[in-house]
Amino acid sequence: MINLKDVSYVRLGSPDLESAETFATSCLGLQVAERGKKALYLRSDDRSHTLCYTEGDPKDQAVGFEVEDEDCLQQAAATLEHLGHRVQAGSTDDAARRKVRSFIGFDDPSGNHIELVVRPERSGRRYFASRDAGITGFSHIGLNSTDPARDERFWTQVCNARVSDRIGDIPLMRVNAIHHTIALVRAPHAGIQHVNHQVQTNDDVLRSFYFLSERRVPIVFGPGRHPTSGARFLYFKGPDGMVFEYSVGVDEIEDEATHRPRQFGFEPTSFCMWGSKPAGMALPSDQ
């Protein structure tokens, strides 16, 4: 079994790194860690980077997950190859570009590009935000799935993810105590559906709602509250149509041994208990 410790980073292609940086600093509120020729590294917490924009096609996306050590990485590669996934070993240069010791890359069954990494870098200096959005760190991703039941089996049987709750047949999956690190979303093609950053308080969610509205950033869902994780949330659109989420108050699963996934109906109140409706954002369809 592939033991994922946590989600480490997201890599997003963008044809316009300058606009991406403007959005990331003046709207989203991340800290620029490093500007490369063809890459922009952004911080959201103690880690050296958690989001990297690379010059290129917005369809070029990757999600990095941390595994324990080199041995685990090699075992994971063997497991994946055995199952018929094409596994690429990362070169030393590519590892340096990801600020990790070593990594492998492969596609999940829907075709999402996943990277498993060893020893992602932390930063000695604390995170210092570009605007007071209250961000405490990169926390989870929404991942498109062309077949949620099949992909749930991949993440829970090949990897160590556990289902915390389901909305219809959409699983919210955890790899540690946090309610979910991967949320699958039914979609016709692969892709990252949203990138979540945690913020400190309710106040931050509502402040950002007014702040971003004033700057005409499209608010696509919220302010709202997920009845599943208990988190208060705000979803909004960034460069190349990528959806970002702020949330606060995600539950932790206290008793790993006895937790049973709850089943929520596939209806609007399962996504927001306050009554907000998604606008301009594809909510997972149940078909």
Partner: protein, 292 residues
Amino acid sequence: MKQDSHPLVVSVCYVRLSASELHASARFAADIFGLQRVAEKNGEIAFRSDNRFRTLSFSDGLSQSSSIGIEVWDEQALDQVEKRLSRNGFAVSRATAHDCQLRYVQAALLASDGSGNSIDLVARPTQSGRRYFPSRDAGITQLHGVGMRSTDLDKDLQFWKELGAEVSDWVGDIAYLRIDGLHHRIALYPAKQRGLLYAAFEVETLDNIMQNSYFMQERQIKIVQGPGREPCSKQIFLHVEGPDGIIFSYVNGMSEMGPARRPARQFPLVPESLCEWGSESKDVPELSAGVD
């Protein structure tokens, strides 16, 4: 045995409003805002928000005037209040038995503040034996306080100080007045005309504030301001436009003052002094902090 000293006034205990369209107002209070309709008597429709017999009532516009009910400690406190107010030149008169009946209280003093707002100082307002059971799940737990329009701030402040109220904070000349352990129950807003600005009802949680916000949006009920948060009191609010331009507010999370006294703090009259999240009021001058 030595008796503890007690305050003169205890709570904001009701809001009586004259309505231009009685039944439309009643529908708003019950079906939209979410209070419990309890009685219709003498051309007046009453509503509950908590264990009290009623905290809001609408009367036919022509027959009666609006007033705010302030509960005093007891009948002796009522005498004391009467002396203090009349000594300082405020108009006060004893309520008749009929007046008291209309107000569901045992004794009352009908007063006017410096702006001419009718303030009823009442003893022994009626409680209800049955628990509060509202018409919809808006999460309301009590009538929390009121915002008053003031045309003569100095005189109004003197009026409330005679009752034992103290200023907790200032935003420009907006005064937040404390009568118990909470930051404020009464707020005075400098205005061109007197009258009630808002009646604030407390809800259980932030969830209720947000749910009510989407409830109003869906029904195209005008939200005057919010969801927002007052930086002075830390109170979360949603100001909804009610009948005859009166604002009905849902509030939650007001800070307590604690035993240590501190001087009133001065905040500038700018929008972020009235909402730290960034919500603004476009059409109500008292809430827009001088921004047109």
